[in-house]
Point group: C2
């Protein structure tokens, strides 16, 4: 698209990332560093391949992403965010948070991909017993599983399989997100179709409910 030609930080930012699809491409790369072209295409339902190709070239030229030829056994090129691109995360998170209330009006025709819950999880998930031993929980809906790993007060949310999960949560991504962000109680989630195997307390560590010890220690009573 054309530049706004305004000497203003916002206008300059939009010159680079204001085009259609661009911030969604950044979202995909924030969720999963090292995407193949096809991964991006699958994560962006509706995008045309020529447009994706053109955007990737523009983003590379402006220093937001970097393409990296991988030798076998991958034998393809992976797209990464540069440091500069990763610096967009706070702005992307804030815009996403602003749009979150609109999700309630989401239409049935809207696409839903499970990995889109990674960004809200990274922003809002809390470890309510940070001094407890490290633990990993795996989330499974469609597509690649998501791993939450908590250790020493730090929390990471990634897109891949856990080596040794203390619990596995299966269900629709929407229900899992609602559970982990405390909008649904654990029992309600379970009767709504969420299946949890393994240590229930590992889940309660992030989603304390009224019956959980973390709820008592994490709440100021």
């Amino acid at each position: 698209m054309k530049s706004y030609k305004q000497r203003c930080g916002l206008a300059k930012a939009l010159d680079l990332v204001g085009d259609r699809w661009v911030l969604l491409i950044v979202r995909e790369l924030l969720i999963r560093q090292g995407c193949r072209f096809t991964d991006l295409k699958n994560g962006l339902p509706g995008i045309a391949t020529n447009l994706l190709s053109a955007r990737l070239k523009e983003l590379e030229a402006s220093g937001v992403i970097r393409r990296q030829e991988e030798p076998p056994p991958i034998a393809t090129t992976l797209f990464h965010l540069t440091d500069r691109g990763r610096a967009l995360e706070p702005a992307v998170q804030l815009l996403g948070a602003w749009g979150a209330p609109l999700l309630s009006k989401s239409r049935k025709e809207d696409a839903v991909l499970a990995h889109w819950i990674v960004l809200p999880l990274r922003q809002h998930l809390r470890d309510h017993t940070p001094n407890a031993p490290p633990v990993a929980v795996e989330l499974r809906s469609e597509g690649q599983p998501i791993v939450i790993s908590a250790a020493a007060g730090t929390l990471e949310v990634h897109l891949n399989s856990a080596q040794n999960p203390r619990a596995i949560v299966k269900g629709s991504s929407i229900q899992i997100l609602s559970l982990l962000l405390g909008k649904t109680e654990l029992k309600a989630a379970q009767s709504g179709g969420v299946q949890i195997t393994g240590d229930l307390n590992a889940v309660r560590r992030f989603a304390p409910d009224s019956a959980s010890p973390a709820a008592r220690s994490g709440r100021e009573t």
Copy 2:
């Protein structure tokens, strides 16, 4: 533009404010609540009137702005942000901050409007002697003057004339911004063409330099 049709907060936000010009319209309204159509047009060099008109309708329909018919003596309609629209400020500020480094590569053909420095001032300006008595400083370049008012640790930056400014700073908006954000020393700014009348210490309160008392009290030595 068309909806992305993705159940994702970021995508929903971009459905509303991702269209061309939209975030710049929001910027104008953040700087100056209560804009006339013509004020917006002047603040957005390059926009076509039909596009501005269409965007305003869409933004009103989506609850981001509100139009208000004013009786005489104004006798026109003013556009305001709603609370929901004002909630975009953090995201807009973050995007603008991300784009700020690109300003150094700004072309000569880029438009420059003095009031665009209001957002960076609001974000970065600091009162280095918050316990001192209230004070107002007026900034003058082209267009409407800008007023900084500091009182009891709070800082406000507005677009209009001060009742009783302790100091008046005249110069190009870029130089003034550079001075107030501490990138230029006061003396260097003055020899660069910035004229200050009134109490120099009122300016030093925001832009302490090596010779200023605020520099010593505000710095951890």
